[in-house]
């Protein structure tokens, strides 16, 4: 594991009026890291992801991606620097086919999505790559389906497929299995376990089993503050964390 973190966050702060959603958060993600981010509802997990990806702008703090400070960068630029995410609630191009959804992402990645002329070969390449990526996560069969008509579980997978298609170095997964019938969650977990080893991954998840199986390090977020961080074993046994999950407020 290389010494310098791919993504390092220092003193990240954000509040909406009186409501504090991020309070001096420090996080380091190293290449290949698997970090779980847990915490009760409203702890600011998704907000944290939004801050990292630029859908929100922090009041204070720095975000460094490969030594490049990106906190002032707009969301779309950050993506091109290797920071990808999935959404807690499916955010897809529902009128398009599954394959087009991925292909467009690839086109953006390859920086020719602005082309109006002379694009045929590249686009064909995009479609082919898109197909292979769909195959990899086992939904190659539905490449021609319109997203709107897909069951929720498959849409969740598509979210991941798109994020991966961006060839990120850091991937932020916002509750990848949220809203999926438990009978189907194992497919998503299969996919998670097969994610490329070199990518640094931050995953938000409520299902503790998943987290403890998947993550090497766990960060517990409460009211926008890092309450604890450590290897799953410690976290599992930490009384304060338990307290939080039993719903008692932490002083």
């Amino acid at each position: 594991m290389s010494a310098a973190p791919v993504l390092s966050v220092r003193g990240l702060c954000k509040n909406f009026g009186a409501l504090i959603v991020a309070q001096a958060i420090d996080v380091d993600l190293f290449a290949g890291a698997r970090v779980g981010l847990i915490g009760p509802n409203g702890a600011g997990k998704t907000t944290f992801v939004n801050l990292l990806t630029g859908f929100l702008h922090p009041d204070a703090g720095t975000i460094t991606l490969d030594g490049l400070s990106i906190e002032t960068m707009v969301a779309e630029r950050r993506v091109h620097h290797g920071l990808a995410r999935t959404h807690q609630i499916n955010t897809l191009l529902v009128e398009m086919t599954v394959r087009d959804n991925v292909a467009i992402a690839i086109a953006e990645r390859e920086k020719f999505a602005w082309r109006m002329m002379r694009y045929k070969p590249q686009w064909r390449a995009c479609l082919e790559e898109a197909q292979t990526r769909l195959d990899q996560i086992g939904i190659g069969a539905i490449g021609d389906r319109i997203v709107r008509e897909l069951p929720y579980g498959q849409q969740r997978l598509l979210e991941i497929a798109i994020a991966l298609a961006l060839k990120p170095r850091v991937l932020l997964l916002d509750e990848p299995a949220a809203g999926v019938p438990s009978a189907e969650t194992h497919h998503i977990h299969d996919v998670l376990s097969k994610l490329p080893k070199d990518i640094a991954i931050l995953i938000i998840e409520h299902d503790m089993d998943v987290i403890f199986r998947f993550a090497q390090e766990i960060i517990v977020l409460v009211q926008g503050r890092v309450l604890r961080r450590g290897v799953p074993a410690e976290i599992a046994t930490d009384p304060e964390v338990r307290a939080v999950y039993l719903g008692r407020t932490v002083v």
Binding site: T91, M96, D100, I104, A113, M116, Y119, L166
Partner: protein, 345 residues
Amino acid sequence: MTALNRDEPVAAPPATSFGAMTSGRSWLALVGHALPWAIIIVFYFMAGGYLSLGTQVLIWILFALSLDLALGYAGIVTLGQAAFFGLGAYAAGLFAIHVSPDPILGHIAAVLIAGLFGLVTGAMILHTTGVTFLMLTLAIVSILFEYANQARSLTGGDDGLQGVKIDPIFGMFEFNIFGETAYVYAAVVLFIWFLISWRIVHSPFGRSLDGIRQNARRMRAIGTPVWWRLLAVYTLSAAMAGSAGALSAHATRFVGLSVLSLLTSGIVTVMLILGGTRRLYGAFVGAAVYYLVQDATARISPYFWEFVVGLMLIATVLFLEGGLLDLGRVGRRLFDRLRRRPDPT
């Protein structure tokens, strides 16, 4: 995977599923492409005294087509399209009077000016959305209208721009009252813009626009510079509208204040919606039908056409979102449903 492959009936793919039209696999698609142009050509020989009416339709088709790019594909809900049409018209007219009577040069100038205006205004307002954006476009077109009304020395105010003289195209084909030149000229320009639009909407750029319309947040998440893309298409659409304006200025050798009116924006939107957005040919059907209905109903009773257009609009929004070009599919679905219904015995 079985659990995930809960199969559901695959409905007819909407217009935005690409490859549907690009690969003209079915002969039907080919006919679909040939038909409109065939009609345009045939009309030239059949029209007689109605040729200039035909020219008007062609111009409005182009105008509606420009709106289809911005509104249909990129989902930019604007009421300000008339600003570009009018600007193009006045630019072409004034160019002919003050600079050079050459139609081609004038046309190019008009396109550039309209495009530039689109670029500037777009850059100012494209970060807003919804009603605010609507009002801003509305304000822009109103400002232009009022200005044109006041600046009589330049525009002739509500008397319109008089004394526009246009040289023959290539020094050969002159604009006369029989309007052959104007018709062919309009048809050719329309065809060029159509090819460009066709190319664009099926390009990666076009697809990203379609993506932005469906879910701008998703597009940002895959690294699309949304604002820039919108600005680009807005500018393009403006240039196209300007081209349509230039056509009308050249075809009638006159520019009336009405080209800048809010109503003009309204009418072109009605045409597009009537015909159907995101199909390019929707503009063709919409403009033609609109003109037919107006021409026919207006002769029956005062206000009848207003009444009918109103009803058509309501009906389209409520029952026929795909526009007239969608009738086929709607009909088919209806038919299927009827057939499926178990007979009541």
